[in-house]
Symmetry: C3
Subunit: 435 residues, 3 copies
Amino acid sequence: MKLIKTLAPAALLAAAPSLGMAQEAAAPDINPYIFTTLLFLVGGFLVFWMAAGFAMLEAGLVRSKNVTMQLTKNIALFSIAAIMYWLVGFGIMYPADWLIEGWLGPFFAVTSLEPVGLAAEDAALDYASAGSDFFFQLMFCATTASIVSGTLAERIKLWPFLIFVVVLTGFIYPIEASWQWGGGWLSEAGFSDFAGSTLVHAAGGFAALAGAIVLGPRIGKYKDGKTVPMPGSNLALATLGTFILWLGWFGFNGGSQLAMGTVGDVTDVSRIFANTNMAAAAGAVAALLLTQVMYGKPDLTMTLNGALAGLVSITAEPLAPSLFGALLTGGVGGVIVVLTVPMLDKLKIDDVVGAIPVHLIAGIWGTLAVAFYTGNWGAQIMGIIAIGAFVFITSLVVWIILKAVMGIRVDEEAEINGLDMSELGMEAYPEFSKG
Amino acid sequence: MKLIKTLAPAALLAAAPSLGMAQEAAAPDINPYIFTTLLFLVGGFLVFWMAAGFAMLEAGLVRSKNVTMQLTKNIALFSIAAIMYWLVGFGIMYPADWLIEGWLGPFFAVTSLEPVGLAAEDAALDYASAGSDFFFQLMFCATTASIVSGTLAERIKLWPFLIFVVVLTGFIYPIEASWQWGGGWLSEAGFSDFAGSTLVHAAGGFAALAGAIVLGPRIGKYKDGKTVPMPGSNLALATLGTFILWLGWFGFNGGSQLAMGTVGDVTDVSRIFANTNMAAAAGAVAALLLTQVMYGKPDLTMTLNGALAGLVSITAEPLAPSLFGALLTGGVGGVIVVLTVPMLDKLKIDDVVGAIPVHLIAGIWGTLAVAFYTGNWGAQIMGIIAIGAFVFITSLVVWIILKAVMGIRVDEEAEINGLDMSELGMEAYPEFSKG
Amino acid sequence: MKLIKTLAPAALLAAAPSLGMAQEAAAPDINPYIFTTLLFLVGGFLVFWMAAGFAMLEAGLVRSKNVTMQLTKNIALFSIAAIMYWLVGFGIMYPADWLIEGWLGPFFAVTSLEPVGLAAEDAALDYASAGSDFFFQLMFCATTASIVSGTLAERIKLWPFLIFVVVLTGFIYPIEASWQWGGGWLSEAGFSDFAGSTLVHAAGGFAALAGAIVLGPRIGKYKDGKTVPMPGSNLALATLGTFILWLGWFGFNGGSQLAMGTVGDVTDVSRIFANTNMAAAAGAVAALLLTQVMYGKPDLTMTLNGALAGLVSITAEPLAPSLFGALLTGGVGGVIVVLTVPMLDKLKIDDVVGAIPVHLIAGIWGTLAVAFYTGNWGAQIMGIIAIGAFVFITSLVVWIILKAVMGIRVDEEAEINGLDMSELGMEAYPEFSKG
């Protein structure tokens, strides 16, 4: 009974006959604003947590001589993303005025949140606090960069990588994301990507693919037509990273409902949680079974990547499918990973942690699968091609420039000795002798 | 001011004189629905996180030659639980129509969540979204399976274990849980188990005990009447796992309030959080002090298990006790662990991580302790016996069948060399040489 | 429309003409109570999670021969804090009646939460549940103790350390915190410390500093005027710990808004989340760049500590700054760490994990920086001096007494062999041979 607390009874009674015309005199319902803001905050901290997941996954899947470097890259890339997205990214992604209508947002809009307390006056009818929205969206930008670091591990120099992150998080990601989530041309064209199978995951994968091509494979990875296994140094960390990512994904997909203040919205968030979990489980089981069938032994890293591929696959449409639909979508994701990891190796594209199969290929699958629900195959294909082409080409250009200007690869001796000692002078596990 | 926003003023005024008869004309208060759904979602992701906790705890407490296997089991069992609980478990546990009234739910009720948007029309008077409830309950089913994997580590084959998980999560757990939480015969009989000291933890412990008996101890564990210590390979991981479980338990117990939309409910959730924390702290301190007294040195793994036993102990009744009551309940749990771990070894029941003392014995203690508040000792004892007998016997039968049909134990050479290389061909820490 | 659901229509109609005088007859708005309670619960479990962060950070930064001890200390100190804060701390910190007005709360007020259900009757107009508030505040007390354990690692005995924790969490922290947050003399004097840059972090740092002075440096740390590096054994764990702390800090600072039931409050919480993240990112980037410039190589542990120093710096005022202000505040924090770590070594104060630069020095910086917004430099300086002097002197006295009565340092042989084997008889990584 908010009415009684916030309006004098006389005013209430006086207002009654003309309620229709005097809606602004009544206290608005503030709860939807609070609920949706809360969704952004909880969803945002869960997606933040994915940064730790990527760090652990990648630290576990590289060899111990490169672990310190991989950790350094991960904490640095998140921090850079946080700064660049504030400085230019958010302004580009959600343009008040476009530089080129629907295609390119403004470069000069440093994000500033409203001063304290001001919001209390006027914001009641808005749908959520701008700060919570910024916090949430920032995490997606950082995720895109996290995807790249795994693929290029064990041979790329720190600073060129971080300069690439500056460009990716400040410009490349915000521009392509503005096409859809900023209300740009792709959203007009009927493309659908609920939480970012393509906008975030495939985009990160395309940037990684461009880098892997320019950078080349690790020394000794492909020898006499064979792929030499280079097993990760710590599968417990890799598993921990996968569980962290799985947890964070509830925020990633659930928060992308972008509203929690109505029965319909919170019910949809719930359905998204259940579907997201189902897709991950199905991806893991699919990869476990398929590696058993194909190789006679189940493969833990494939199973972990299967779970992640299930998550990426459901990300483009976590709401429409039934639980059975989520199981199918995620299961196919798990199968994709098992089948495409060896294909990449045949192409001599060296992806240390399997990020391209997981994020790029399963991301494309998930985005295409949306058309089972919308029927609009053309728009889905167009979106994937447009974003893929833009991210791949711009990334390729940046990588080529970086290679020409400063070099992006450590020298042979440094690579063989490990980046930790040669580049950083610091081992991750200085007391554990190498086998 | 929801009323004014959702009803035309004329309708409002017209309805006023007949409010009693026209309740359906007024907009219902949707906030309790949203709050309770949110409780399930946040509680659910916290309990999900416990799956990571079990994985880390167990990976830290096995020897390094079995770590990859333990990780594989943990991610696989969670994924299987997610699928089985959807396919049959949830339908058995919360029967619309019982096969046998109060005892056995239907096997054919695949869970389907309501289609998107539909809920928005009618659900306002329900208490929470079905999807959030399913998501939350699923995590308890998975927890039950997690408990089993630790006890049987370092010697059981992967696939028989996973087949057992299929049966446990699809049938055994849902059936016994339906007796209480599905409104079955035990709930009618006055048994009380708030968040599952018996329904989840002791049940998992009974399934593990049956497995340990059928499987036998690890080679060399009991030699010439002595217990040979086989120390865990990574106590940092084990400690991390314990902290993760502690965190997740706030969702486990707090979420089991099953409502957050009233002052009373959210106040109770708060009390549950405070008591849960106190019981864990008391269990840890009790084990720390007791090992100091008994052995002259405090024991970290006992302290970790003491915290977990404190958590299990308070789970049957986290609401009624005062903070001092929670301290006593949890402290006794910690003492139980220190005293019963050696007893199990005397019986030559080889429980690698101490899951039986922590989950089964402390679970029984916690369930009995409820009677200090309800006075109904008989119902508590009956519930423990009924669930214990059902889970133990059905599990024993399944383990015996699995042993007869496909064998459940790796061969001697594989066990000595470690399951990682012999069963999976993949080491968890390939570069860290063994001491 | 709660009114209709909870009052008979007749009562409603009867009450209608006198609504103004009969406000107590109307159902109060319960949503702010629920929202704020929820803020405490979510904020509280996030700050709880910081205990795991400290454990991982410290376990990663000590040498492997001391890891079990460091883990034991961390889980024990949290558990002790939970018990002491209940037994005396909370009562001292939030006095109903002061022993010495504004300076010293009562020692006899064991915390008891209201019995179940009672709250439902009367609490509706209160602002949040007492249990949630206790749960939240407890976590800050435990954090203070966590800070101390890192500095004193690798040479302090377990039990004297834990006795110090008893005094710190039961008395020293609650007394100084009561001066500000309990409504004592400092809050009257205009001092401002939003979430505890000084009350928690610098206080923990002062207690650690006193301990480091009494305890002395590790054997071999300072030799012939040089500082001998003793690198941490597991930088993956240290990085994980940093990410955990970063995540937990959203609860630490965001929860300290202490209210979420209005548009203004939840908007402020959002702004705090965004600023907290920015300060951490800026601290990390500042340390990364500065170590590159100063040493020619970026330093991962400095970067991790830079992020933490950024977090500590923004904690005293996470709400007033713009994002740019947060970037500056946090960036200066990162610079402080890089510059002060070598200074401490020059003073031969051996701080194993860098807790004094991170928590004490950056904490002072953050507290001073509040004056840029309040203008009241005098109050900030006075608060820092008062709390610093009180915590440092009382801690020093306790450490000196402990040293005299029971000794606080392990003997030389035990220190060289490592505390794990000599004090606990248990290695953290028994199978990984030492380099």
